[in-house]
Structures are given as structure tokens and as C-alpha cells.
Amino acid sequence: MAKYSVFSLVRNALSYHENWQRAWRSPDPKPEYDILVIGGGGHGLATAHYLAKEHGINNVAVIEKGWLGGGNTARNTTIVRSNYLWDESAAIYEHSLKLWEGLSQDLNFNVMFSQRGVMNLAHNLHDWRELNRRVHAIRLNGVDSEILSAAQVKAEAPILNVSPDSRYPIIGASMQRRGGTARHDAVAWGYARAADQRGVDIIQNCEVTGFVINNGRVEGVETTRGPIKAKRVGVAVAGHSSVLADMAGFRMPVESNPLQALVSDPIKPVLDCVVMSSAVHVYISQSDRGEFVIGAGSDLHVSYSQRGSFEIIEGIMGALCELVPMVSRMKMMRQWGGVVDVTPDRSPIVGKTPVEGLFINCGWGTGGFKGTPGSGHAFAATLAAGEPNDMAGPFSLDRFRTGFLIDEAGAAAVAH
Amino acid sequence: MADVVTEMSPLDGRAGSGADTAVIVEHPHLSKINLRGDSGDQAFMDAVADAVGAAPPVEANTVMTAGKHSILWLSPDEWLVVTPEGKQGDMEVALAGTLEGQHVSIVDGTDARTTIRLHGADSRNVLMKGCPLDLHPRIFGPGQCAQSILAKADVLIHQLDDTPTYDIYVLYSFSRYLWDWLADAAKGFS
């Protein structure tokens, strides 16, 4: 597989860019693999990549019922940050952020990771106190975070309305400067290409229809493209986790809710950081194309429709017009929804299931994109060893029995 | 001990506003009694009729009017008894008397909500700017009421006539906001 570089660009320019190699193969499934990863989104592909790269396990397949990155990977607002409250979360999200920082080099694929900074606004005294507490806790975990005054917020993002008379006055903000955005498709494609290069089979249009389980141990899966045996199976299917768990005969503490996002028409650069407000459930950044990428809140009902309620959009746009008055003169071009898998403590589940040899990685809820590298890294280690590693350990499914919950509702609830 | 209690509304001092065809006027201090009971119990219905002059409406989203009193349907076992200003004490005593011994709830909510009257040919158009109810005359007409949302505020809307005229009941804490919203929404109509 050719390495992407300025030389390959020049070489291919000479043949009018008509001879680029396909970025990954499209193989038929083999009868058996050492490890089978279900779900060809960012998390599943990252898992396969790190299995091959870090653990030398190449006899791996990723099976995907649709196409690569056709689910939440392509539907999120691409925000990357690691400012979580609890130690366990700080460990995995910060590990993820560190992987993001070297990801383009690691994958030889430009994922357009831009550390433009992520700002969380405080609109009232409670917000302000909570935000200060979080910044201290986050810094104690060695993660960068700082407090900005209203004047500093205005300097960072002049389009914000910081007037004390506004509907949502801005008292200040926390800022993680190492946070930012990345290009979501590129993340899926980059991981797919890198994994494929190391021998991983990526099989699209292959839907799991059942598990082969004998004496409580998984032996493979039934798919729309025939049965596939595997020694270990990892499930990374986000919103459809409960559906696959049901096939395997166990229940999950997960609910699948619609989460929406939208983009505006493109304008000249006016915002060079990410602005989030948990209080009004809105987050906004400007893409390289000039569009505002706007995240909305999630609906509270279960839905697999990839559509949310209009009232959510109406609510956040009302709030956004107050926060960023110029938005009132813009057009919104596209609006869509994804199916997010939300756990009771808003923290992911990475680890074992009641079925031996069957592992699950889900529950990333409204904030899975940022976790992609860290999640894949930890899940790969878990699948390779057959035991959760230190990073995945606290995020076991068993925590709902033991009560060792990792409550990140404040960091994760909606604002991502 | 002072025995003069001056009733105050958060909208005091606000004159009629809006547009010619969508006028808003506050009707503060209408007596409002929240009544709960079992409409399937004839004794309850009779006792309310004795006190108010009419039995509570059983049909959803309707209003029963008897003289100066109105009974607005809120839910299958809950109504708002509306009577003229200053009569809440009399009405509460009357209801408590006829309903004595029954399993009911009678709570004076006069000072919880105020009433904004919206009147004029464009009133419906003003409401439609911020209310998800189907206000088409075929669906919602005089003698009907509904609890819903108006510009994010919880409201109870009662249509009085075909003009149309609406009484909008809103909590004190939302009333200034809603008044300003209505005045703004009425702009452009005349």
C-alpha cells in the first residue's frame, strides 16, 4: 500500500489522479478469525487498527451492516476534548486526546485534527462555581484547563454576546486549549486504511443476524454473508448495542436516543474555537468550509429513526440567536440525527459481557467521537488479553451491579 | 393589625397594548379556585352545582358557565372555578360547605395566576405565533379551553367568543414576559 506523501501526490498528479490505489480492500469474509469486531464506525475501526498495530493480531475482521462511518461517526459535531471530572474518565479521555495529537502521523492520513480550543460557558453563579470546581479537578488530573473571564471570552470569540443584559449572560468560561475538532470521515477512513494495511479484513454490507454461543461461550456470528467463526468477538455498535445484546441473550443499561446537529450556510472565518453551553444545550464551531457546525440536545425517548424532534432544534436555535446574534441572519442548510447509546451514569461500557469471549464497547452516548482513539486502544487491549486493561477496567458492565458508577452527567449530559 | 390588603399584580400599571385587531388587557384578580373531585360521583357533581350554579364540565377542554361563574376543565378530575374579583372567599366557603365530607380538594389559586385578555380579529393569528394548539374554529371555539404552551410559558387559554376573544391564564412569574411577548407578537397586525 502506497504511503501518502507529497511525493505520492506529485506522482499521481502526473497520471491525472486516475491511478490512486483503493484505500482499503473489500474482501469476502473468511470462515474464521482470531478476533471479530462488529461495527465499522470509528470505535470498531480504531479497535482493529490497535489490535494489529499494538498487539500484533492481524487475523481480524471488522464487519459493518452498512458502510464505513455511516452512522454516528459521520453524524457528530467532531468535538474533541478531555475535560472530564472523575479520575477514571480523565484517564481514558486524556489518553484519547494524546492519541489524537499524533493520529494523522500514526495513520498516515490527515484527520484534520485542529486544536483550536474548547470553551464551556458559564451563564449564572451555579454554572460559574461548578465550572471552577471542574477546572481545579481537571488540572489535578494533569489535564489542561483554564478559567476565562467574560472579557477574555469576548476576546476569544468576538461573535458572542457578552452583554450583561442578554438572555444568557456570560460570566466566564472554562477553556481547554488542547481540545478542538477533527474531520469525522477522515477518522473512519484513516483507521480503515491503516488497519487494512496491516491485514485486517474490513467487510461492509455484512449484518450480524445472530451469535453462535455454546456453553456460555461465543464461537462466532451468523451474518447476511454467512457464518463467521471467531475466538473472540467485540461489539462496537453504539445505538444498536441493546439489539446485539438481545441477540446474545443479555440485557444492557443503555437507552438509544436521537441526538441532532445542523450546519449553517458557509461564511468567512469568524470563530476559531469551539463554544459550548451546557445550560442552553448548544455547541458551535466553524468548519474549514466556513459552515457553523451546531450541536443540539437529545430527545428523551428511545428511537432508532436517526431523526429527532423539531422542538429541540427550535429551542437551541432560539438560544443560539441570543448567544450569537449574527446567527439570526444566517440560513441553516442541513439538519440530521444520530442514535446515541446513553448509560445511566453517562459513562461508557468497555469490557466483558455475561457471554464468555464476547466483549462490548458502547455507552459513549453523546460524546463518542472524542473517545474514538482511546476507546479503540483500550478495547483492543481488552480483546487481545481477554481481560480489561487498567483503562477499561472501571468502565465494566459489572459496575451497575457493584454500584461503582462514574457519574459524568455534568460533563457529558448533552454538551459535546 | 392592618386589615387592608392591597392586591397587586405583576402587570399593574400596564395599559392596554397590542394592535387594533389584537388588543391585550389585563383582567387581574379574577377569583380562581382549583377544584378536584370525582366527576363520576353524582353527589360531587350536585354539590358543585349547588355552590356554583352549574356542574363541572365532563367533556375535555370545555367550559361550563353559570351567570358570573365559569368552570374550566383542566383534567378528568380537576377544574378551575373562575368568579369575579374578590369573590374567592365566598366561593371557597360555598364549595367547602356543599362538598363537606367528600373526598375533594378546594384550593384558592387567585394569586397564582393573572389573566390577560386578548381581543380582536387577529387574536388567533397572534396566538398561533407561539402556541402549538390547533386553534382553527372547527377545532377550538367559544366555550372551549385548553392548557398548553404559549411562547414556552404554561398557559390556560379560554376562548370567550367568535371575535375571537381569549382569556389567557398565566402564572404571575411568567406574566410580564408573556405580556411583552404578546405585545410584540401583535405588532404588524392592524
Partner: protein, 93 residues
């Protein structure tokens, strides 16, 4: 946006309602007598069905009554509305 037929008020826009998740989850009669696994199952695990799903809603900006919906979580089509205490109707997608 759903148009929900409140069993008491009639059809109203979803904005007036609030969803409270899966219906018909019975609290264990004697929590002390059951294992942690069973308690966790009651407390946290949810069917999260893809297909016909039974859920609780409350008309919190209207009559403030609770009721149940049967809804297809794939098409979001509402298949039945029934009152608290009633048995879930058999519905087809």
C-alpha cells in the same frame, strides 16, 4: 415531532409532553430478598427495543396525567395510546 393523542385531552403536539422511558417495569416486591444482579437489572437495564416499544409519557403542560404509548422506535409511528393500569395492547408495526 410527534402528534400524541392524549387519552384525556385529545391530539396535542409533543412539546406539551414529557417522555419517561420504558413502561411496565415492576419494582421488586421484596428488594432485600433479591440479589444485586436482579436489583441492577430492575434499576438500570432497559429493553431499549428496536421495534414496538411500550413507554410512559406525561402530559405535563396539559392535564398532567400519565399514560402509556406503544410506538415503533424505527418509524416513530405511534401505534396505540392507553391509560395507566391498562394492559398493553397487542399492536403490529
Amino acid at each position: 415531532m410527534f402528534l400524541i393523542d392524549c387519552p384525556y385531552c385529545g391530539p396535542r403536539q409533543q412539546t406539551e409532553f414529557h417522555c419517561h422511558g420504558e413502561a411496565h417495569i415492576a419494582r421488586p416486591k421484596d428488594p432485600d430478598a433479591i440479589s444485586d444482579v436482579e436489583w441492577a437489572d430492575y434499576l438500570f437495564n432497559r429493553s431499549n427495543t428496536k421495534g414496538v416499544f411500550y413507554e410512559r409519557w406525561v402530559h405535563n403542560h396539559g392535564c398532567r396525567r400519565w399514560f402509556n404509548l406503544a410506538r415503533d422506535t424505527v418509524s416513530d409511528r405511534i401505534l396505540a395510546v392507553y391509560r395507566m393500569g391498562e394492559k398493553p395492547p397487542r399492536v403490529k408495526k
